[in-house]
Subunit: 326 residues, 2 copies
């Protein structure tokens, strides 16, 4: 039985085949998967297609590609109909569980966000990423640049492009969880910064009630102004709020200082406020930890007019693979 | 004490004044309010400014405009800091409460969505709106066209533009509520239509956890394909899901037939399914009523490349003011 993640990809491939007329090749399926938010290269797509063939859900059709079988149609319609529609919070919990990053030893696997850009934009992108990190609106100064043709996890970076991987703030939640603190990443939002201080949230979306990642919503609606914040100290940037039980507050604070020693930054409110937190309601008996989002560097690139494809919560990656930006 | 709606506008005006350098005129404030999603004309803005003057929060500064007073800064920062950040569900409940539409007599006030377009696009827009209505993806065939310079509720339609008002599906929720059924408009989503049948939800956002209207999110991310549905019978359109207690199911069904007699359409699942509803989880003891969104006609205009400004849940309006499209 494949894991939930693989399961979702298999079903999406069946959907693509079902929605098309006639056979479809692996390259075209991979492209369509990417368009739908599944980060899968051609090679990995072929691997998934073989799994589907083995189960009798698809079959080869000449040299050109695959078609879906009646059994595959059945499978798609019934057994897993609700599978595609996952709330972002489910994915968050999967990744919190997968993280093994330990700030005490600065080792283990961290959650990363990935952003694809054109290779020709790389130099000016790196400059901007540095500025966002230095100003404190990212999570970590660490970065991995993956060149065209190389594989990033299951993916081949397309020709002419590079993939950038940066720390995702969910790493913080993973660390709190592993230290036994029940943590609930509640809202993704937009926070107004004034004179380099987080002033108040102006928009939020609950991760538990959305199938679209709030960070992508705010970036694609052009609601961020990270560049303006770098220049003037004021504007709108992406941030997250998680809730923990009030009685875990002291433990959480110790973990936050450890995270800072391990160069994990971006937390701008660590249970200092009782509720509400900068305008956002917090549940009774809970307190809120707010951090900037690891997507802010990529939002800045988008604001510059650079063509970006941002995939929050892409994967876990060993921290050794990421190098300091400096 | 002004109502919550007015309160929010007053605070937003204070914010605009606070964020600007020096005095600001009413026209510029009105423009900025519109940009921030507050649907207020210049005349109405002047009225609100007088309210702020009376309270000592703003004062006139020469002929050019208003400035915020220290008292106004205080007011803005403390008393009402959480006011701007409202969940969409709060606004939904305000409008459900305001609706007085009675399908039995076809009278009363219905909730409307408003869309501003350029006047030169009006003719081809009307054609498309008709097609969306005839295909069954709108709520009602009724429409109000408000010409430039005329007032729509508190607003003057800007020069060169017209405002289109159509039935909002929240009207259905208002009717259920007024007949004593506890109704909870839960998700705004995107539904895949195949051969003119609603097949499954592919994305949802919980109205209770978002400060941005999901309909605006899906339209601005270009995720709808209403035109394609009109042409081929398949594609993605906007829809809503509300939950009611299972034991209110029979009552709700009677109300739904009354709504149909009063030309209120678009409900494609009226508690037929037990949970989940086309891929979306429904709470235990509840059943779901799914309807197409009143925003679909405006989504179709956006897909045509027409410049639209869509304001879901804009106002309540007497049904007599809207005329049948035919």
């Amino acid at each position: 039985m494949p894991d939930a993640e693989t399961q979702r990809k298999l079903i999406e491939i069946l959907r693509i085949l079902s929605e098309s007329n006639g056979e479809v090749g692996a390259r075209k399926i991979a492209e369509e998967l990417n368009r739908r938010g599944y980060n899968l290269g051609e090679r990995a797509t072929r691997y998934h297609l073989r799994m589907l063939d083995e189960r009798g859900f698809t079959k080869k059709h000449g040299y050109l590609g695959r078609v879906i079988t009646p059994l595959g149609e059945e499978e798609m319609k019934h057994a897993l109909v609700t599978d595609r529609l996952g709330f972002v919070s489910t994915r968050i919990e999967e990744y919190e569980f997968k993280t093994t990053f330990d700030p005490a030893t600065d080792t283990g696997e961290a959650v990363v966000n990935i952003c694809y850009i054109n290779k020709s934009d790389l130099d000016r992108s790196i400059d901007t990423l540095k500025r966002v990190v230095e100003a404190g609106y990212a999570i970590s100064p660490r970065l991995k640049v993956v060149d065209e043709g190389q594989e990033i996890l299951e993916n081949d970076v397309p020709e002419g492009q590079v993939a950038l991987a940066t720390f995702c703030s969910i790493t913080i939640d993973g660390v709190l969880l592993k230290r036994g603190i029940p943590v609930n990443l509640k809202y993704g939002g937009l926070i107004r910064v004034k004179d380099h201080n987080a002033e108040r949230f102006t928009e939020v979306i609950d991760y538990h009630g959305t199938s679209i990642n709030p960070m992508n919503v705010f970036v694609s609606r052009k609601m961020t102004s990270v560049l303006k914040v770098l220049e003037t100290g004021s504007g709108y940037v992406l941030a997250n709020i998680r809730e923990i039980p009030v009685n875990a507050r002291e433990n959480a604070r110790q973990i936050i200082s450890q995270l800072e020693s391990a160069d994990i930054h971006g937390i701008f409110s660590g249970c200092e406020n009782m509720r509400p937190l900068l305008g956002v309601p917090i549940e009774t008996g809970k307190c809120g930890i707010a951090s900037y989002s690891g997507i802010n560097p990529f939002a800045a690139l988008t604001e510059m007019g650079i063509k970006t494809r941002i995939i929050p919560l892409s994967a876990v990656m060993n921290v050794n693979e990421l190098k300091r930006l400096d």
